[in-house]
């Protein structure tokens, strides 16, 4: 069957998809780079071969009947219609096979659930439509956004090798360490999946799910969100970079320092132009998915910001919406997601872009005061 599928595939492939140089004809699950994923692969292959064996026997008898017991070949029907021994046998034998199958499955599952004694804890939070990785013990965290350009998605330029599976800031982890993931979500349910690790866990608002991995080989591993989470569900990649321990340590030190620099931005004096420049970037990463790059939104679910009362009138109302979100709507509370500098920049941007031209700005310090006043 496999050979046939390949042959049929190759024929179709040659005639139809010659332009897709990157595509391949992978038929099976690949073993991964962790103990768990290899155990899963083993279970998968075992149960697959059991099914194939049962299939050969059942379909074998059936095809024998189809070919040999045809009326057109003069077959005379037998009259038997029950046989207690046979019926008991074909109840018990499958039952025994299933019990045997459950033994290794149970062992693997117990291992997968044992997330005690980890070396590193990373909190994974799903947002519409990006991931946030918080390194709990080192007190820094960052968002991981897709970087696939719209031009590639809309077929205006050729797609790159990692189309839809590339991010700005991948998760970085060391090899040969037990890494525990604490998985949750901020808005709707997402699911964090890296096939090469055999790790998939739903990210659910209000819940913290635990799972873990231990990676054997350095490399870049790619997956994506696997629970329908709205419009851009298909554009929410997961990229994990596994590196040797010393490289990881250096990376952590750099992240801690950079988090410190970020905090200093709050006390810096900003000009309108600086805030606008920073704000455009923040807006495109965090807001444009719903409110659109041109600020026109997608009413009624995602209102326009261009010319909206909130963006051109009372500043406090604008701060409230961005910092606290709008309860009962898809508008998230960005107060905890973005730094004061980014909040100030994006609010300033929204009040001056697309012809809103209020000329008003809000500084990171004012945002800081607003957040702490509450």
């Amino acid at each position: 069957m496999r050979v046939h599928a390949k042959r049929a595939g190759a024929l179709l492939g040659a005639s139809l998809v010659s332009s897709q140089a990157m595509a391949d004809w992978t038929l099976n699950m690949a073993p991964g780079v962790t103990g768990t994923s290899n155990e899963i692969y083993g279970l998968h292959m075992t149960i697959l071969w059991i099914c194939v064996a049962i299939g050969i026997v059942v379909f074998g008898v059936m095809f024998w009947s189809i070919f040999a017991h045809r009326k057109s070949k003069g077959s005379k029907p037998a009259h038997f219609h029950e046989n207690t021994v046979v019926e008991i046998l074909w109840t018990i034998i499958p039952f025994v096979i299933l019990v045997l199958m459950c033994i290794p499955a149970t062992a693997t599952l117990m291992d997968m659930y044992d997330s005690e004694e980890s070396d590193i804890d990373i909190k994974v939070t799903g947002y519409q439509w990006k991931w946030k990785y918080d390194y709990i013990n080192e007190e820094f965290g960052y968002f991981s956004n897709t970087t696939t350009p719209q031009d590639e998605i809309y077929n205006r330029v050729e797609k790159n090798e990692h189309y839809l599976r590339e991010v700005d800031n991948p998760m970085v982890v060391p090899v040969d360490k037990k890494i525990r993931f604490l998985v949750t979500a901020n808005d709707v349910i997402h699911s964090w999946w890296v096939p090469a690790f055999g790790v998939k866990k739903d990210a659910i608002p209000g819940f913290i799910n635990e799972t873990w991995t231990r990676i054997d080989e350095p490399g870049i591993y790619r997956g994506q969100c696997t629970e329908l989470c709205g419009r851009l569900h298909g554009f929410m990649p997961v990229v994990v970079k596994a590196v040797p321990q010393d490289e990881y340590d250096a990376w952590v030190a750099e992240q801690v320092a950079s988090a410190e620099r970020e905090r200093e931005l709050t006390s810096k004096d900003w000009t309108l132009a600086e805030l606008m420049e920073r704000g455009e970037g923040v807006y495109n990463t965090n807001c444009a998915a719903c409110h659109q790059a041109n600020g026109e939104g997608m009413p009624p679910t995602f209102p326009a910001l261009k010319g909206s009362r909130i963006a051109i009138e009372d500043m406090n109302a604008h701060l409230d919406v961005v910092v606290n979100g709008v309860s009962g709507s898809p508008m998230q509370a960005f107060g905890e997601q973005l730094s004061e500098a980014d909040l100030a920049a994006v609010i300033t941007y929204e009040r001056n872009a697309w012809g809103n031209d209020t000329g008003e700005m809000v500084t990171p310090k004012e945002v800081f005061d607003y957040k702490n006043k509450e």
Partner: protein
């Protein structure tokens, strides 16, 4: 009670009323059965059109035809329409037509309610389909409508969707009550329970499943309605609610629901295979017990749809074991069908072709179901195209082929004409090839790591997606041929004998073809 109807009524046989009111006011099980079947085929074409949109977008990587928000509406509406509009009403239509004729009853037990349960359906689907034209679009959260995506984050049309589901639920529950009342009360004298045809048995059990779980569906959508419109927080974590509760309640309905869609097909195939093997069904009693066991087990396996939500280890193990247990009675059924064919005298008219394909392809869907039941492996399969392949293998060559097999098997009885066998066999082979081409590669895509419900995909999935789309277009276009075959058969063709199939058994074949408007006004004698 039907025994006291005097022969006078038969002499002055009153036929159907004329014009549209015949259909609007009818309480005749045959008319209502026909309306259910026509409605379900219309929904099948509509849901199929949406599948064509989905496959057209997935023909190549990148966004070409539709935007992601519309794509999500298409996957959602395709699922809802196929489940609630195509498969379930088709089986109710078959039940309406065949159950009274198979048990020797003059009609369904509750004919006026029968009329109402049908006419609720077009109303419900008019509401559901109208959401496509509302601001914000149709439901876009998948046919499983997980909260909070469907509540806090749902489009404004969600309330209409909820209303439509409520109406469908009322219709299904009334249909189920009718089936149970008919089977338990209107059997001809001598038609004991263990003499009933298997189609009647499977429908009796299906009807109990419907009554048990449709209220649960109504409950979960009502909780959504409250969350959306009346400020409750059943599923909103920020208000102290629990999004996972939604999934537990939904799948407590949802898993028995999948057996609701397959058990009547089991019954129909258990009629057809013996007929064309010219040999009695092997293991009648074990077939009945197996269906009962499957139905009971279906209530304790719901969380196998939720292996990755973080239920505790003990829960995972329980649901894994319970799910694997279902393979035992399902296996018994498959073995019985094969044993029925073994040493028979087989011929392969269209009903038999569809029934044999049913057994083979449903078994393949059962195998992938068994693989999905292995909880650790499910962490890799879950929410990928492997799952899409699995449930399309049990629903398309399962439920849908079961319906096609039934339609060809009983069309001569319904219309009085034989259908065009050559065209029907063409319909079968094109469907068979198209369906396998569409859905088999989805196993490979899932195992390679392609998640479901995405409008665009990474480049390594391009080849099999193209193959799958070609198969889907082929399968979709072929169904227009079925429409042509049925219309041709209704309009004319070779006259059908009372029993057109040499090996067919059952009371329906003692009636003339086409079956008169009123049948078994006097109950038949069962030996």
């Amino acid at each position: 009670m039907s025994a006291v109807i005097d022969t006078h009524a038969q002499d002055h046989h009153h036929g159907p009323a004329k014009g549209f009111t015949r259909w609007l006011y009818t309480t005749n099980h045959k008319d209502i059965g026909s309306m259910y079947l026509i409605f379900s085929f219309a929904m099948f074409l509509l849901g199929g059109t949406m599948a064509m949109v989905i496959r057209a977008e997935l023909f190549q990587p990148g966004l070409q035809i539709v935007e992601p928000e519309f794509f999500n509406q298409m996957t959602t509406m395709h699922g809802l329409i196929m489940v609630f509009g195509a498969v379930m009403p088709a089986f109710v239509g078959l039940a309406n037509w065949m159950i009274p004729m198979m048990i020797g009853a003059p009609d369904m037990a509750l004919p006026r309610m029968n009329n109402w349960s049908f006419w609720l359906l077009p109303a419900a689907f008019l509401i559901l389909i109208s959401t496509l034209f509302m601001p914000g679009g149709a439901p876009n959260f998948g046919w499983t409508f997980y909260a909070p995506l469907s509540t806090t984050y749902g489009p404004p049309s969600t309330t209409f969707f909820i209303f439509a589901v409520h109406i469908m639920g009322v219709s299904s529950i009334m249909g189920a009550i009718n089936v149970i009342a008919t089977i338990l009360n209107l059997r001809a004298p001598g038609m004991t329970l263990m003499k009933m045809p298997l189609f009647v048995w499977t429908w009796l059990i299906t009807a109990f499943l419907l009554i048990a779980v449709m209220p649960v569906l109504a409950g979960v959508v009502t909780m959504m309605l409250m969350d959306i419109n009346f400020g409750t927080s059943f599923f909103n974590a920020a208000g102290g609610g629990d999004p996972v509760l939604f999934q537990h309640v939904f799948w407590f309905f949802g898993h028995p629901e999948v057996y609701i869609m397959i058990l009547p097909a089991f019954g129909a195939v258990s009629e057809i295979i013996p007929a064309f093997s010219r040999k009695p069904l092997f293991g009648y009693a074990s077939m009945v017990y197996a269906v009962g066991a499957i139905a009971l087990l279906s209530f304790v396996v719901w969380a196998h749809h939720m292996f990755t939500v973080g239920i505790p280890l003990a829960g995972e193990l329980f649901f894994m074991y319970a799910t694997m247990l279902i393979a035992v009675p399902t296996g018994v059924k498959v073995f019985n069908w094969v044993a029925t064919m073994f040493r028979g005298a087989l011929s392969f008219e269209a009903p038999m072709l569809f029934a044999v394909a049913f057994v083979i392809l449903f078994t393949i869907g059962g195998f992938s179901g068994l693989m999905l039941a292995v909880a650790p492996a499910d962490f890799q399969y879950h929410d990928t195209y492997f799952v899409v392949a699995h449930f399309h293998y049990v629903l398309v060559p399962g439920a849908i082929f079961g319906i096609f097999a039934s339609a060809y098997y009983w069309l001569p009885k319904w219309t009085g004409h034989m259908y065009d066998e050559t065209l029907a066999q063409t319909h079968f082979w094109l469907s068979f090839v198209g369906m396998n081409l569409a859905f088999f590669p989805m196993h490979f895509l899932g195992l390679a790591g392609m998640p479901r419900r995405i409008p665009d995909y990474a480049l390594q999935f391009a080849d099999f997606n193209m193959v799958s789309s070609i198969g889907a277009f082929m399968f979709g276009a072929t169904q227009l041929l079925f429409l042509f075959i049925v219309v041709k058969c209704v309009r004319g063709g070779e006259k059908a004998a009372a029993k057109p199939w040499e090996g067919a058994e059952g009371l329906e074949w003692t009636l003339p073809s086409p079956a008169p408007y009123h049948t078994f006004a006097t109950p038949p004698e069962i030996k």
